[in-house]
Structure formats: C-alpha cells, structure tokens
C-alpha cells in the first residue's frame, strides 16, 4: 500500500462556525460594495451644496457691485 503525506486524513472545520464566518464575510463584502456608491452620493451632494452657495455669493456680489 502506497502511503504519502497526501494520504493524511482531511480534518474538517466546524460546519456551524464556517457558515457563520461565511455569513459575516458576505455581510462585510456587501458593506464594502455599497461604500463607493455612498461616497459618490456624498460627493455629489457636496458638489450641489457648493454650487448653491457659490451662486448665492456671486449673486450678492453682483447686487453689491450694481448698487
């Protein structure tokens, strides 16, 4: 009978813990996947707010210069 190191029996991890780890990892990946969209949303909102404030300032300057 040919025996090698690869003949050593496969030891199996605890199935319940493995599925818990898998679920935890999936949840974290889902968070990571959503993060870019959230960042893009924040950037877009920031851009709109900046443009709005700039418009107010420019309008105020225009009124001031014309008076």
């Amino acid at each position: 009978m040919n025996i090698s190191l690869e003949s050593l029996p496969q030891l199996t991890p605890d199935a319940r813990r493995s599925s818990r780890t898998l679920a935890l990892c999936r949840a974290r990946l889902e968070q990571r996947r959503r993060r870019p969209a959230r960042v893009a949303g924040v950037v877009a909102l920031g851009g709109i707010a900046t443009a709005y404030l700039l418009a107010i300032v420019l309008n105020a300057l225009r009124l001031y210069s014309s008076s």
């Binding site: 690869e6 050593l8 935890l24």
Partner: protein
C-alpha cells in the same frame, strides 16, 4: 486536493476586487478545508485553528479591493494564515505539546484495500501525524505547504518569507527528521511514507 485553473483564479480575483460575495463563496469553498488542515497541523489545536481560519477570511474581505489583479489566491491565503499563526504563537508562547490532541481530531477510518491494510495504514499515518507534529515549526510549515498542500517550492518559499533554496533545505531537513523518527521502527515504510515529499 484540486488545483484551481489560473483563468478561473484571475476571474475570481477580479470579482473579489469588486467585493463580489459570490466570488468569495467560491474561494471559500475551494480553500476553507485546506487552510484549516494547514492551520490545525501547524498549531495542533482545533480551537486555535478555527480562530485563525476565521481571521484569515476576514483579512481577505478587508483586503479584497486592494488585491493585485494577478494575485495567486492560494499562496496569498496561506501567507496570511501562516503570518496569523506566527503572531499568535509570539503573543501566546504556544506550547509545543499537543500532538496527541491532534490525533483525537482524526475522522474514524482511513482508506485502504483490506481491513488489514486499513489498520496498518492507519497506524502508519498516525505515527506520521505525530512525527510531523513533533517537528520544529519552521520545518513543519515547510513540509505541510509542499508535501500536504502541494504548493510549488517557490510559492511555499514566498509564504514563509524565505528563498526557494532555504525552503528546499527546510523540507530536506524535515524529511531527515521524520526519517529519524519513523525509520527507527520501520525504515522501509518510512521511506515509502516520504515518497510523496518533493521539493
């Protein structure tokens, strides 16, 4: 042990970089048992191996978007697992005396053609398992990566953070130590047992 096709691996890496949970499932299914076997034989404790295994997967999740497109998942995961074990061992000063405990984790029955062969193989494998467990960690990890997990020497060397030549020396030394331990009782069988170890 099944080897992952390189194209499949690259596709999985690409999807992992996009935090694809299904790709993670595929990688987990392929490597979970192998990583556990490596960790449990390295640490010789199921509880430690389970903890380090979980941490290895969490590291893949946290580092998934930073993976290089050409990452080799096997060596990457074994490197993380091995480094976690090294850190654990440093912090806890792990005792090197749990080989008996590892044998208790074995499944009942090992493959063989006849009941006699099965019993003989089982006994030989148990002695082999105990002998591997008694090796110093640096030799044990080299032997496990190359002889059990089937990593190429250059990959195993990268996992251990040493040169391929140094790894070959460690595997060679591990073989010599195993031969000393097993050979005293049945030298011929011990040589056969080590026939699968190549570096």
């Amino acid at each position: 042990m099944t080897v992952m096709n390189r194209e499949t691996e690259l596709a999985l890496v690409s999807r992992l970089r996009a935090a694809d949970a299904d790709a993670f499932d595929a990688v987990h299914a392929h490597y979970n048992a192998r990583l556990f076997n490596f960790l449990v034989r390295l640490s010789r404790r199921r509880d430690v191996a389970e903890d380090l295994l979980e941490e290895t997967w969490l590291r893949l999740v946290s580092g998934s978007t930073r993976l290089r497109p050409d990452t080799q998942l096997g060596p990457w995961l074994f490197t993380v697992a091995r480094n976690l074990f090294v850190s654990y061992r440093r912090s806890r000063a792990l005792e090197d005396s749990h080989a008996g405990g590892l044998l208790a984790l074995w499944p009942s029955g090992t493959p063989g053609s006849t009941p006699f062969d099965m019993a003989a193989a089982n006994e030989t494998l148990r002695r082999l398992e105990a002998a591997i467990g008694s090796l110093p960690v640096k030799y044990r990890e080299a032997l496990l990566l190359v002889g059990v997990e089937g990593l190429r020497p250059v990959e195993a060397a990268a996992v251990c953070g040493i040169t391929p030549d140094a790894l070959r020396q460690r595997v060679s030394r591990a073989r010599a130590l195993l031969l000393t331990q097993l050979g005293n009782e049945e030298g011929g069988t011990a040589l056969a047992v080590l026939a699968g170890v190549t570096a």
